[in-house]
């Protein structure tokens, strides 16, 4: 079975990001980058699929040099080889431009199944996976929390999380699965895996090699980010001073009812 997984490198959740002077991007220096957590579920599911049904797992990622670190992590977890879409021309794209490049790269793999995170934790747009599926002509199930692939590798049954419940869908492969928390418990990159990762193939593909010159990155984007807004600063809490605990509680109830209007 040919298995592909698309991953994104994002700032670590613990990183405190700062907005640059132009106001349209974050300051890159001092930021620690990791694999987006939902992409970890995707890599794990890809590896489990391979362990069950055999085949090969190909990692595909788009981004600058630093993304290689995240690709190596996926290879250390057990993926077999990687495609790195690395070129200045890929930069500055929106979900559509990125999906176009990834879909074209996937074509060189012709996978039976593609795994992706349900969203990246930086832009939180949930655009790329669904667009890749459309552009590559794949069936898709999004926000998947459980997956069963038939032994013949022709169909799959996916459980999707939806508001307050779930939904089970059947798909014909080739298909794309976007992965949600709960689908699995991602493995650690093991020491032997890490030592082997460096010997695995990471193929770089330029836009020209995908026949996409002038159609990816900023040039291919239909939406452009004009401004990033910082999180609104939280107002300081209010302290209730009263003679007795009873009086304080009464005052709290009054404020909740009259000011916050939540009671």
């Amino acid at each position: 079975m040919k298995i592909a997984v698309i991953i994104k490198q994002t700032p670590d959740t613990e990183t405190v990001v700062k907005i640059n002077d132009a106001g349209n991007d974050i300051v890159g220096t001092g930021v620690k980058y990791v694999m987006s957590p939902y992409c970890e579920f995707a890599v794990e599911e890809a590896l489990r699929t391979k362990e069950k049904l055999g085949g090969e797992v190909v990692v595909v990622s788009l981004g600058p040099d630093r993304v290689l670190e995240t690709i190596r992590t996926a290879l250390a977890m057990g993926c077999d080889r990687a495609i790195h879409l690395k070129d200045p021309a890929y930069e500055g794209g929106d979900g559509q431009a990125t999906a176009k490049a990834l879909a074209a790269a996937l074509k060189t793999v012709s996978p039976d199944i593609v795994f992706a995170g349900k969203q990246a934790i930086d832009g939180d747009q949930s655009q790329v996976a669904v667009r890749v599926a459309e552009l590559a002509g794949l069936a898709q199930a999004t926000i998947v929390t459980a997956l069963e692939i038939a032994a013949d590798g022709k169909t799959a049954k996916a459980t999707r999380r939806s508001e307050g419940g779930g939904e089970v869908v059947e798909l014909k492969l080739p298909a794309l699965i976007s992965c949600e928390k709960g689908l699995n418990e991602p493995r650690y990159a093991s020491l032997p895996g890490i030592m082997k990762a460096k010997k695995k193939e990471v193929k770089e593909l330029k836009p020209a090699e995908l026949g996409l010159e002038g159609q990816v990155g900023a040039a291919g984007a239909k939406a452009k980010r004009v401004k990033l807004l910082p999180l609104a600063e939280r107002k300081a809490g209010r302290r209730i001073e009263a003679e007795t605990p009873e009086a304080a509680a009464a005052e709290l109830v009054r404020l909740l009812r009259e000011e916050a209007k939540v009671l």
Partner: protein, 405 residues
């Protein structure tokens, strides 16, 4: 007054008498480059693989080790399945040569130091437990005979890990790793061991023990002793710190072992003193990791803790104490990495290992006690982990053996 006046006059005279010629300026200013790179000098930059290994162990530490620490301390044992969980990182297979079913291609003391350090940041006792079987594996790889390797390394490379321990420390005053009270005497085809060992991890479950004993006055040697051998008793003996490692006391009552139990046979490939050096680096690595845990904990705590209307870090007595922890910790780390790097490059590292160990024992304890101090009353209660780290760090000064890098 007179003296000060005379000095000022003298300096003034010197300044007035000197004039500087303009010289002939070059097209660009002259700067000096560094000396050519000397590959024989120790290099502290990590390889990409080491960086990734540290990151992976860090994840495991944050997910598994740290959350289990308090309960394991109370239970005086690692949580069920801990060794199996730790095995997901593949550290065991990375220590065993491919010929025996492992995946080791190289022997890197520095990588081992990094792994121990990261684990101990989660919990020093659990780090001791996780790495205890590795010490026996390393000793077999470095010094075992072909027969010993075939028998035990193959068993270590099986699908599931098992507990094993390197027993060195003896419960007596002024214990000296080079003057052992545990004795081995030749008897017929084999040896008979007698004596007592303390601080042995995995008291309840260790299957294989590497025991240091003095061989008929010829100095200390290492023996492979199977748990089930007649005369072997290993009973739990919880201590102040490292409780989560399931510490025990080992009694050897005239334990008869075969000739093949002597590690390396009559012509050992592994120098006993080197084993001690490697163990000292390992304990220093645990001290660094635990010290880092203290530092990472006290900084946000003291920044957020408000007393007398302001964060307590605004007080110099607090800020200086934290700064000193950071300084000592970095100093210790550098000494330790230097020792590990020299070991890795085949250079002598005895002196460096001893320095690291001395520094770890003294500064480790200081960091532990200051961690408790910085939290004031909160440092004394179990709600915060600093009291646990203090108890762990007390162990560095008395621990010997047990671990290898």
């Amino acid at each position: 007054m007179l003296r000060k006046g005379a000095k000022a006059a003298f300096q003034g005279a010197a300044v007035a008498s000197r004039t500087f010629a303009s010289g002939s300026p070059k097209a660009a200013p002259e700067r000096l480059a560094g000396p050519p790179k000397r590959p024989d000098l120790f290099d502290l930059s990590l390889t990409d693989e080491q960086t990734m290994i540290r990151e992976s162990v860090k994840q495991f530490t944050d997910d598994v080790v740290r959350p289990a620490a308090a309960k394991a301390d109370e239970a005086c044992a690692p949580p069920d399945g801990f060794l199996e969980r730790f095995d997901e990182l593949g550290v065991r297979l990375m220590a065993i040569p491919e010929a025996f079913g492992g995946m080791a291609g190289e022997r890197s003391p520095l990588t081992n130091v990094l792994v121990l350090e990261e684990l101990a940041r989660g919990d020093m006792g659990l780090a001791f437990a996780a790495a205890a079987p590795l010490a026996v594996i390393h000793a077999l790889v470095d010094g075992g005979t072909a027969a010993q390797q075939a028998k035990y390394l193959a068993a270590f490379a099986e699908e599931k890990p098992f507990a094993a321990a390197f027993a060195l420390v003896e419960p007596r005053p002024l214990f000296d790793a080079h003057r052992l009270a545990t004795k081995a005497r030749r008897s017929g085809e084999g040896f008979v061991l007698s004596g007592e060992k303390a601080m042995v991890p995995w008291a309840k479950s260790a299957q294989l023990l590497l025991v240091a004993a003095d061989l008929e006055g010829a100095g200390p040697r290492l023996f492979l002793v199977e748990r089930g051998t007649n005369g072997v008793t290993l009973e739990p003996d919880p201590s102040m710190g490292l409780r989560s490692a399931d510490l025990g006391r080992l009694h050897l009552d005239d334990v008869a072992v075969p000739r093949d139990a002597l590690l390396g046979g009559d012509e050992p490939a592994l120098d006993y003193a080197t084993v001690i050096d490697r163990a000292r680096m390992a304990w220093s690595a645990l001290a660094v990791g635990c010290g880092q845990a203290v530092l990472d904990y006290v900084i946000p705590y003291c920044n957020e803790r408000v007393a007398f209307g302001e964060p307590i870090t605004n007080r110099q007595s607090v800020a200086f104490m934290i700064a000193n922890i950071a300084i000592e910790l970095d100093g210790l780390r550098l000494v330790l990495y230097r020792a590990a790097s020299r070991a890795e490059h085949g250079q002598s590292f005895r002196r460096e290992a001893a320095l690291a160990r001395a520094q770890a024992a003294e500064k480790g304890m200081e960091i532990g006690t200051n961690g408790v101090q910085l939290l004031g009353g909160h440092g004394f209660v179990k709600e915060h982990p600093v009291e646990l780290w203090y108890r762990h760090l007390r162990a560095i000064g008395i621990a010997e053996g047990g671990l290898l890098v």
